[in-house]
Symmetry: C2
Subunit: 407 residues, 2 copies
């Protein structure tokens, strides 16, 4: 199950970046499961990673390589095995994969970033993985985004990819990205995997800042099951191949259109993960208005988004607002005056003054809940801050998928 059509529109190539995908048989035969990305020299790469203390070996290596000062030229991504909880051997395996590319391409090992997703706690099948690398390079193409989106899926039911363009100084600048993830999703810095690239000219500091801000409003605002993965990684690449003035700070004319386009692509990629959440039948925006600060807005939003009782009510299309109020009540907001809290489903006011709204009719709530895309809005009346998170319902299929699949 998934929400919406999941249609992917034209994926514009990013100048200078090429992608190769192959079936390496990491976990299953005849499945695209190994992706390489090749960047031109002088590209810039920024990353954000999971805050899970048990972060996977490839995440540790990505951080080291990004901090090494060496230019990043290659990304290697496998699905089917997360190389997490694999101790020293896992680290050696991930380094060996990087070394294989470094040797064949004549670059430093620090110029290669490794990414893995799939089952936790099993060692990578190194023979098949290493054999797959040259095959993936044989398939390098400018138009590899859709294959790559397929090649990083795990329990995803469909690929996720977004591409947008804008004009700047008479040139067309492209931002294209892919993401994956459907369970173990409550990113704490980034989603399981997201790769976004642009051909704009931009300096390293601005690139990292744009990534941090975009992730914070997109991948860091989604939750499916509240489980923060060991492998979350989100990468923003800039090839700088479109010859315009460079974006060197917030005053650059390129800053606003580039930031807005990247924000938009990342938000759509993050929402695509929620729409394809394990067992999802609803796409739910939980918006908190008039909070005193961002922390309390998110406390309330996540309490609702993580409540199994709210999520099962959503599955049943049941406007069970009592469960939502209960979640607001235990969210931990200090000195919450429940008489000030208003609750809306879509445009319908369900509760205010500590209880059910007098004009509310059950049929109104039922009408909102019948939809696939639902807005739950809580007005705290404590300040002027708004924030929102995106989530799904909790259905039989979530249980089925996770009782049968080994993360």
């Amino acid at each position: 199950m998934a929400v919406g059509s999941g249609e992917i529109k034209t994926l514009f190539p990013v100048k200078g970046l090429s992608i190769g995908v192959t079936c390496a048989g990491i976990k299953y035969p005849n499945r695209q499961d190994l992706v390489v990305m090749e960047l031109p020299a002088d590209s810039l790469v920024a990353g954000v990673f999971t805050q899970n203390a048990f972060c996977a070996a490839p995440v540790q290596i990505c951080k080291q390589h990004l901090n090494s000062g060496k230019s990043i030229r290659y990304l290697l991504i496998n699905t089917g095995n997360a190389n997490a909880g694999t101790g020293q051997q896992g680290y050696k395996d991930a380094m060996a994969s990087c070394q294989k590319i470094a040797d064949s391409k004549g670059v430093a090992v620090e110029s290669v970033l490794p990414f893995s997703t799939g089952v936790i706690g099993e060692h990578l099948p190194m023979d098949r993985l290493l054999a797959g690398i040259p095959q993936a390079f044989d398939n390098l193409t400018d138009n590899g985004w859709l294959n790559a989106a397929n090649g990083i899926m795990t329990t995803d039911t469909r690929p996720k990819a977004v591409s947008q363009q804008f004009e700047f100084q008479g040139k067309t600048i492209t931002v294209t990205g892919i993401s994956k993830g459907a369970g173990m999703i409550k990113p704490n810095m980034a989603t399981m995997l997201g790769f976004v690239a642009t051909d704009a000219k931009v300096n390293a500091e601005v690139l990292q800042s744009i990534l941090d801000q975009a992730v914070n409003q997109s991948f860091n605002r989604i939750t499916i099951d509240g489980d923060t993965s060991t492998n979350d990684s989100c990468i923003l690449m800039a090839t700088g191949q479109v010859e315009t003035d460079s974006c060197d700070g917030v005053e650059s004319d390129l800053y606003i259109p580039l930031k807005q386009t990247i924000d938009d692509v990342m938000l759509k990629l993050a929402q695509a993960i929620v729409r394809d959440g394990e067992g999802a039948t609803k796409f739910v925006t939980v918006q908190v208005d008039k909070a005193g600060n961002t922390d309390e807005a998110l406390q309330v939003a996540y309490a609702i988004a993580h409540s199994p009782l709210v999520k099962t009510a959503l599955t049943a299309s049941d406007a069970n607002w009592g469960r939502i109020l209960a979640a607001v009540g235990y969210s931990g907001v200090k000195d919450l005056d429940v008489n000030q809290v208003e609750l809306y489903l879509g445009d319908v006011c369900i509760a205010r003054n500590g209880g059910r709204s007098e004009e509310y009719q059950e049929a109104q709530g039922a009408a909102v809940m019948a939809g696939e895309e639902i807005l739950i809005r809580v007005v705290l009346n404590r300040g002027e801050v708004s924030d929102r998170v995106y989530t799904t319902d909790l259905s039989y299929d979530y249980i089925k998928i996770n009782a049968e699949y080994r993360t």
Copy 2:
């Protein structure tokens, strides 16, 4: 579904306390749904209540009446309707129920404590509730505990009651209690409803202290779905009808046996709630050893106990230890060195040194997971503190129950 037989052994009456139960038709006809408890003069009553900001009207009134200084003589408990999220009308309704008893018995309204559990956000059917009160009083008996355990159930599949006795100064002292709750269970001071009584002589300060300590190791250590109810209440009553030296402090000879018996009764009542958790097929103890302090022990224990991925693996009897390690990793323990963490399922060491234990065989984990009662034990090696929480798996039936039932 539920774990274990749920067998209830002999329920010894508590001297001086009588209980009456009736079918008032609060939500369903012909169901025991209204309970009154009558205490002799000079009884002492201590309570702990939900920390949910949207606490229900009866919880607000209980707190006021317990603080009024008036002796508590009557408890009134209904199931079928939580009287939560009901605003001013809800408060008036709960007060009117208390007043009805106060008037007929000639006591102050503050001598009556009201309790409600069931659907949130609907007003109490006051006509049926008020009509039921004299019927319940007509049924007063010393042997009402089992009927009362039945009369406070909501989605519980079976009543929960525990009774123990000990000898002190040649007299027999009894501690008997009942509890209810199967969903919306992550108590934050007390379970949804727990009522425990003793006929021991004990002063008010000691009674409250024993209750606080017992709740903290029992009802505050269980979680089914992480949803903290609006109505959690746990009450400890002492009728003082067994003539021995009074328990006036920790130095009293009565203190240790009384405290141990109450601790034990409360722990069994709390565990009974978990064993009857909505859709439960497993009873899981999550124990964290060698933590630096209680907070981090509980952070880790609750991260595991709340993880939908761990809970669905339990449903599938799948020793998916990677999900457990991932939960440890995101639990938020500061500066966690994952290489120091050890993970055990029962007696089997599954992981150490940041990865799978070398001697571990899948068949060993599978054997542990096949059982109904499972111990997940994490050794942090950061200090000397141990703590534990009790929880269940997350099954299809949890979804079924909560997609179909209005909390």
